[in-house]
């Protein structure tokens, strides 16, 4: 019977090894999946950061200010990655261009209020960027 114990022991080790291998494989696959998900997230973060953390936003905001008639810029203040601006007497063409440019900028639009006064547009803009 002692000899059979050797055989039983060997079979027990084999069964253990099968479960151990299965567990290792499962951990390996799980780890690969986690890494793949993390890599995808990192790639997405990279893309989002690239578009939302653009150092040229300040320059592009200044460019907007430049094409607006001086008398239309009531206020234009940039502080700590935040813009507060107020424009008056904008003709529809300039108004449309302003909307188009702001909409194309990667900024967080906190407030965009506009109304028509004497067939001209008044705009209050507040936005921030990363």
């Amino acid at each position: 019977m002692k000899k059979e114990f050797l055989l039983i022991g060997a079979v027990a080790i084999l069964i253990f090894s099968i479960f151990y291998k299965a567990s290792s494989y499962s951990n390996f696959v799980k780890s690969l999946d986690e890494i793949r998900v993390q890599e995808e997230k990192i790639a997405t973060i990279g893309e989002l950061k690239k578009s939302w953390k653009n150092s040229k936003i300040k320059i592009r905001l200044d460019a907007i200010k430049k094409y607006l008639p001086k008398q239309s810029v009531k206020s234009f203040s940039k502080k700590k990655r935040k813009l507060k601006a107020s424009f008056v007497k904008l003709n529809p063409k300039i108004y449309n261009k302003l909307i188009k440019d702001i909409w194309n900028l990667k900024v967080k639009i906190i407030k965009f209020k506009s109304k028509v006064v004497d067939e001209k547009y008044e705009v209050n803009l507040e936005c921030s960027w990363q």
Partner: protein
């Protein structure tokens, strides 16, 4: 006894020197209950050894048989018989038909029944009037029987080979599992290096936070722009005039100058009312007010 050269397995009938028998009345009903008393019953009567016990009920009494497997196996070895070859074990005491006439065990010993007890006697002590016969080889035993518990289905060599093979496969599994472990570690190290290069934190929690921050910002801002552009395009297409456009937080309020009864006014209304983000649309004379949620 002569050495035997048998290859097959077979049943054996034990002669009395290999077992001890006792009969006893006990206050229990079944044999398995009586078996608990077997060891105590033989205590002090048997030579020092390990014993197996068989119990059977006969009328009101229990029959107890004690025998040493080791002794039987050792004896079998001396006559060249392996334990693996032993099938069932029977006891001469319960096979009286086997020696209804006295039989030769070997040249010196004979098995005879004295007072209904199977007994071994030296041939020289048996009267000449009693004729001894050789054992009937075709006899089929019918009495109490048991099996050798240490009987093996495999030879020692077979067990070693089989165990070796099994352990070899187990080793292969361990090596493969170890390989998976190493590959996991390599992938993790490669990933850590990749993260370092990006300048992002290594912690999953921090990464998740950064991802959520940018993802929410991106989705919300895209939505603001998409929703307002859909509304503006619809208004412009049907020659409406925006008199007020307020976008604050996640709410959009528009006032349009358009006659709702005209074809354009109807089209703007019907087109925008299909959109899920439109919360409310009201018309007052030639002013249409649109409220939308981003």
């Amino acid at each position: 006894m002569k050495s035997l050269n048998l290859q097959k397995s077979f049943n054996i009938i034990l002669s009395p020197e290999f077992y001890w028998v006792k009969k006893k009345k006990l206050p229990v009903k079944f044999a398995f209950q009586a078996k608990k008393y077997a060891k105590a019953l033989f205590e002090g009567f048997l030579p020092n050894d390990e014993y197996n016990y068989i119990v059977s009920k006969e009328n009101e009494e229990f029959i107890f048989i004690a025998f040493s497997e080791k002794q039987i196996v050792n004896f079998m070895k001396t006559i060249n018989i392996k334990a693996e070859q032993i099938g069932k074990i029977y006891f001469a005491q319960f096979e009286n038909k086997f020696f209804k006439t006295p039989i030769y065990l070997d040249e010196e010993n004979a098995l005879i029944e004295i007072d209904k007890i199977a007994t071994i006697l030296k041939v020289g002590f048996i009267s000449d009037k009693i004729t001894l016969y050789p054992a009937n080889e075709n006899y089929k035993p019918t009495g109490l029987s048991t099996r050798i518990s240490s009987k093996s289905f495999f030879t020692q060599m077979q067990i070693y080979i089989l165990s070796g093979l099994i352990l070899f496969f187990a080793l292969l599994n361990f090596v493969e599992a170890w390989g998976y472990g190493i590959q996991t570690e390599i992938k993790e190290i490669e990933f850590e290096e990749f993260v370092k290069k990006t300048g992002l934190p290594n912690s999953t929690y921090q990464l998740k936070n950064i991802y959520q921050k940018y993802d929410t910002l991106d989705k919300t801002e895209r939505n603001k722009r998409d929703v307002s552009l859909i509304i503006i395009k619809s208004i412009m297409k049907h020659k409406g005039e925006i008199t007020m456009f307020n976008l604050e937080k996640k709410k959009l309020l528009l006032m349009i100058k358009v006659n709702p009864k005209t074809k354009n006014g109807v089209k703007i209304k019907s087109q925008l009312s299909k959109e899920k983000f439109i919360k409310k649309m009201t018309v007052n004379k030639d002013i249409m007010v649109i409220r939308a949620n981003i």
